[in-house]
């Protein structure tokens, strides 16, 4: 039962993060929040028992965050 509650919490977190990313203005902050999206997805995979996929998700979360941050360094950090 507690696993289901945890899963529900992480799924809710995924939805909240997605909505925040759509409406946020500060791109650097949003990139870090996107990293949290990756983290909750990883926790969901662990709860489902797919540790391999969780490992991949963790590694890819780091890589995509670095890509985004490099791209943001060359453009204006705040969007209109």
């Amino acid at each position: 039962m507690s696993v289901i509650i945890l899963e529900g919490a992480f799924l809710l977190l995924l939805i909240i993060i997605a909505i925040v990313i759509i409406f946020g203005k500060d791109l650097l902050a949003l990139t870090i929040i996107y990293c949290a999206f990756s983290f909750s997805a990883m926790m969901l995979y662990i709860l489902t028992g797919a540790a391999d996929v969780a490992f991949t998700e963790a590694v890819i979360g780091v890589i995509s965050t670095v890509y985004f941050i490099i791209a943001i360094k060359s453009i204006n950090r705040r969007c209109k």
Binding site: D52, V59, I70
Partner: protein, 252 residues
């Protein structure tokens, strides 16, 4: 015109949502022991994968052995993604890449004593861990993809923190794309080797190496394709990184 597009998109999205809501009635429930997926294919994998492939990790057994073709084309997709990023993002202006070392630190680089010291400790551990993940992919978590991504992370840190002076080497994006191609080639070569010995494509027990048990040849085949996957994934991630870095230099 604009309004029509929005209405069209809304109709498609609503149709997709309706399909998702309606679909669970005809699909088997999650974890249903009677569903076709769970009733014979999974049972076969669980009962026979160790005997068939010699891999303790069932995920590796399925990915690298039972579904070798699937992984082959996944590797090809990685390669294709790298090539596409190279074509779309790299500048057409001629840049002398041999002069890169003596350039000023990139605009997209991150410097500072804390970062420098922290990552000086972290990088060797990441590289060793990557090799551990690669070598233990058969028995524990991980495998080619994760190991390649970890190696790429080590390169990435080295590349964007200028105090390291690119001590892990300096790959141009073309060289990275070519290395990714080499990874795919290693994979396909592993698939072709059994064919010289009278087997089928990717039929590991016909690999032309002497071994007492077929499971040993399966392990050899899995290790060989994992090498291909490591090289391809690492080179593709480096390729995209280099293209993005060059783009940020190009824009200023």
């Amino acid at each position: 015109m604009e309004k029509k597009k929005i209405i069209g998109a809304a109709v498609i999205i609503l149709a997709a949502v309706a399909a998702v809501i309606w679909a669970p009635d005809i699909l088997p429930a999650v974890g249903d022991a009677e569903s076709p997926v769970n009733s014979y294919l999974s049972t076969y994998y669980i009962e026979n994968s160790l005997e068939d492939t010699g891999a303790h990790n069932m995920v590796t057994a399925v990915l690298a052995d039972y579904r070798g073709f699937d992984t082959l084309f996944e590797t090809c997709v990685m390669f294709l993604a790298g090539i596409t990023a190279l074509m779309v993002l790299s500048s057409t202006a001629k840049v002398d890449k041999s002069q890169r070392e003596i350039q000023e630190p990139y605009k997209a680089s991150f410097s500072g004593t804390v970062l420098d010291t922290a990552f000086r400790v972290v990088v060797p551990i990441i590289v060793i861990y990557a090799f551990y993940v690669f070598a233990h992919g058969e028995t524990s978590l991980g495998g080619g993809f994760q190991a390649g991504a970890l190696l790429a992370i080590a390169y990435m840190i080295d590349r964007i923190i200028p105090n390291f002076n690119n001590s892990l080497g300096n790959m141009t994006e073309e060289a990275a794309a070519m290395t990714a191609g080499v990874g795919v080639f290693i994979y396909i070569l592993t698939g072709l080797l059994p064919m010289f010995n009278g087997g089928n494509f990717l039929q590991y027990e016909k690999l032309p190496f002497g071994a007492e048990h077929a499971a040993e040849l399966h392990s050899t085949g899995i290790i060989m394709i994992e090498i291909g996957v490591v090289v391809c994934v690492m080179a593709t991630i480096i390729n995209i990184l280099e293209v993005v870095l060059e783009r940020t230099e190009f824009d200023d």
